[in-house]
């Protein structure tokens, strides 16, 4: 039996919006699970049902062997970090951390000990007497984390906690959250719409689309083996290139080139997916790209151009290579690293 079990969980809001469809999944003890998906796909709703902040329309949620559908949020022993932190504005940092412990009737000395420990772990010891309004965004973020950690709950829930920070701080906090979770070892669920955040943080990743889990697996599994066009397009940056084509007797025809011996019995219109980093330059390659735009990132170059009818085709190469606008490149796909999807439903067919 897993630590957290979702069994055919469905959420229909009173206004009729179906935000989550019959979702089932398990999260193991100590695991870092990330929910990733576009805006409005139901990530927050799913998380809030686990927290007890939304009613469950149908299905069951078990936490640590207990059915928690009807358990009040105050008794679930879960901690949540909100996007806007939701710190208690009228309490200083110390009391922000101590409040949940006080409500559990823990003795004063123990509270002090735990708060100081958590504060030290998060490097907020010097701010304990300050009100949240006197802290920077990053410091507030830490306090919100501290409030979750100090109670040593069964599970941490994060709802896009980094999206209010600037890019640099975000990367730093991302790292710290990961380290902290490994240190504390508490089962965590992290919601984000940023696929880089998802890839870097997750032990396992659930890609959610329209209230359904499209794919569940480790980040590398999902990157290497996307099950659908949606997942393929969502995970990976820059985005995978999609080309229209036709598959017939294991031969794929697309935008002026052909691929033979495709490992699929599918026949009909397909979408061919190629990641920008899965190609390299050769003399007589498959794909002929005329370069429109070069983005130099320093370590890498992102080359955008046209192949036959397809605009904005992206190719990624080392930053040391000098490529000019207007030049023509000849590219090959490395090691048959391409993906074929059924055009009608987006499912992977190779």
């Amino acid at each position: 039996m897993s630590f957290l079990e979702l069994n055919k969980v469905t959420k229909i809001y009173p206004n009729g919006t179906k935000a989550v469809h019959e979702t089932s999944m398990n999260v193991e003890n100590g695991e870092f699970m990330v929910f990733v998906g576009p805006s409005g796909c139901g990530k927050s709703t799913l998380l809030r049902m686990i927290a007890g902040l939304e009613d469950i329309t149908e299905g069951n949620i078990n936490l640590d062997g207990i059915l928690i559908n009807k358990v009040d949020p105050s008794e679930r022993d879960v901690a949540m970090v909100f996007q806007n932190y939701a710190l208690y504005p009228h309490m200083n940092v110390y009391n922000n951390l101590a409040y949940g412990l006080k409500n559990r009737g823990i003795s004063k000395e123990d509270i002090e000990k735990k708060v100081n420990e958590a504060a030290k772990l998060l490097q907020i010891s010097e701010y304990l007497q300050r009100k949240p309004s006197m802290l920077s965004g990053g410091q507030r973020q830490r306090v919100a984390m501290g409030r979750a950690i100090v109670r040593s709950p069964k599970i941490f829930l994060f709802d896009e906690p980094l999206s209010n920070l600037d890019a640099k701080l975000r990367i730093q906090m991302r790292l710290e959250i990961k380290k902290l979770q490994q240190k504390v070892g508490v089962t965590s669920i992290f919601v984000t719409h940023d696929q880089v955040e998802a890839m870097t943080l997750a032990d396992r990743l659930a890609v959610i689309n329209n209230g359904l889990i499209e794919q569940l697996g480790t980040p590398i599994e999902i990157y290497n083996n996307p099950k659908s066009m949606f997942v393929a397009g969502f995970i990976g940056s820059p985005q995978m290139n999609f080309l229209e084509g036709e598959l017939k007797n294991k031969t794929l025809t697309s935008e002026g080139f052909e691929i033979n011996n495709v490992t699929s019995d599918f026949n009909g219109p397909v979408i061919l997916g190629i990641r920008p980093e899965h190609m390299s330059q050769t003399d007589k390659g498959l794909i002929n790209l005329s370069v429109d735009l070069v983005e130099q990132l320093g370590s890498d170059n992102l080359i955008y151009g046209e192949i036959k009818n397809k605009k904005d085709f992206c190719f990624r190469c080392s930053g040391s290579q000098i490529i000019k606008k207007g030049s023509k490149l000849s590219l090959n796909i490395n090691d048959n690293n391409y993906y074929v999807f059924d055009k009608s439903n987006g499912n992977r067919v190779n």
Binding site: L53, D72, S74, A79, M80, N84, Y88, P89, H90, G100
Partner: protein, 283 residues
């Protein structure tokens, strides 16, 4: 340093405003230090006279009314108790009913809110007979309870508290819930401290409202023991002078000045919170 014309203008307006507020008070105070005859003859005074101690002594110690027993001091105390009771209960009841309306999303919350709101259209003066009937049936005439109780429900304060609670982000409640706070704790630990400036402001308004009640205590009380300041002003301090009943104007001014003290004290006491409540919300 350059002083802008607009700043000068602003200060002139402010000074005029202050004068407008202060002059009547000063006039009353200055007049209260003369004797009645001077004022009746010469009108209100800007300068100070020499009757200050006599007039104020007179007011504080004079026994008035038919029983010759009620003193001004007693009336101040009555009014103070009444206003304090009204203000305290009004604030508590309004804050709690607003809490129920905003946070307990029961189906009838909106109709009930409007029902509370339209009681603004029926102030006590309009429903004075039914109110009197109820209070007298309950045997509450001539009691502090009777003075306070019919005035404690407040649509205005409920409305303000409701609007304030609505601005508090939902995440705060959710986060408190996850921290193990029940509804009662959320009210005490969050809404009360967050709205303390609002509470102070409401308390002052309601105190002044209670303090200046006239019609209700007039109807409610037959015993002089429960007379209030505003009633007393009319009833005591007339004097017969050459066969005509003349108002004792100087003492009345002294009485007015004294009657201002309790509300002023409340304002001074709560000022720190009150000002904050008007100019900022701590969020």
């Amino acid at each position: 340093m350059k002083i802008k014309l607009s700043q000068i203008l602003a200060h002139i307006v402010l000074i005029l405003g202050v004068l407008l507020m202060v002059i009547p008070i000063w006039l009353s105070f200055a007049s209260s230090t003369h004797d009645t005859v001077t004022i009746l003859k010469e009108g209100m005074k800007f300068g100070l006279g020499d009757q200050l101690t006599r007039n104020y002594n007179e007011v504080l110690n004079e026994k008035g009314g038919w029983s010759e027993e009620v003193t001004a001091a007693k009336m101040f105390i009555n009014s103070f108790i009444m206003a304090l009771g009204i203000a305290t209960l009004k604030v508590i009841i309004s804050a709690m009913s607003a809490y129920a309306l905003v946070y307990f999303r029961f189906k009838l919350a909106v109709p009930i809110f409007w029902l509370i709101f339209i009681t603004l259209l029926v102030p006590l003066e309009v429903r004075i007979f039914p109110s009197y009937k109820i209070v007298s049936d309950l045997g509450l005439t001539n009691s502090y309870t009777g003075l306070v109780l019919p005035l404690v429900a407040s649509a205005t304060a409920t409305f303000f508290f409701r609007q304030f609670y609505k601005t508090i982000p939902d995440e705060l409640l959710e986060s408190a819930k996850l921290d193990g706070a029940n509804s009662w704790r959320f009210f005490i630990d969050f809404l009360v401290p967050l709205s303390k400036t609002m509470i102070a402001a409401m308390f002052i308004f309601m105190f002044v409202y209670g303090y200046s009640q006239y019609l209700w205590p007039l109807i409610m009380t037959t015993s002089e023991e429960y007379w209030t300041v505003v009633m007393g002003m009319k009833i005591i301090f007339t004097e017969s002078y050459e066969g005509v009943a003349l108002p004792r104007t100087a003492e009345r001014f002294a009485y007015i000045i004294l009657s201002m003290i309790p509300p002023v004290l409340v304002v001074v006491f709560l000022q720190k919170w009150f000002i904050k409540g008007l100019i900022q919300t701590e969020k």
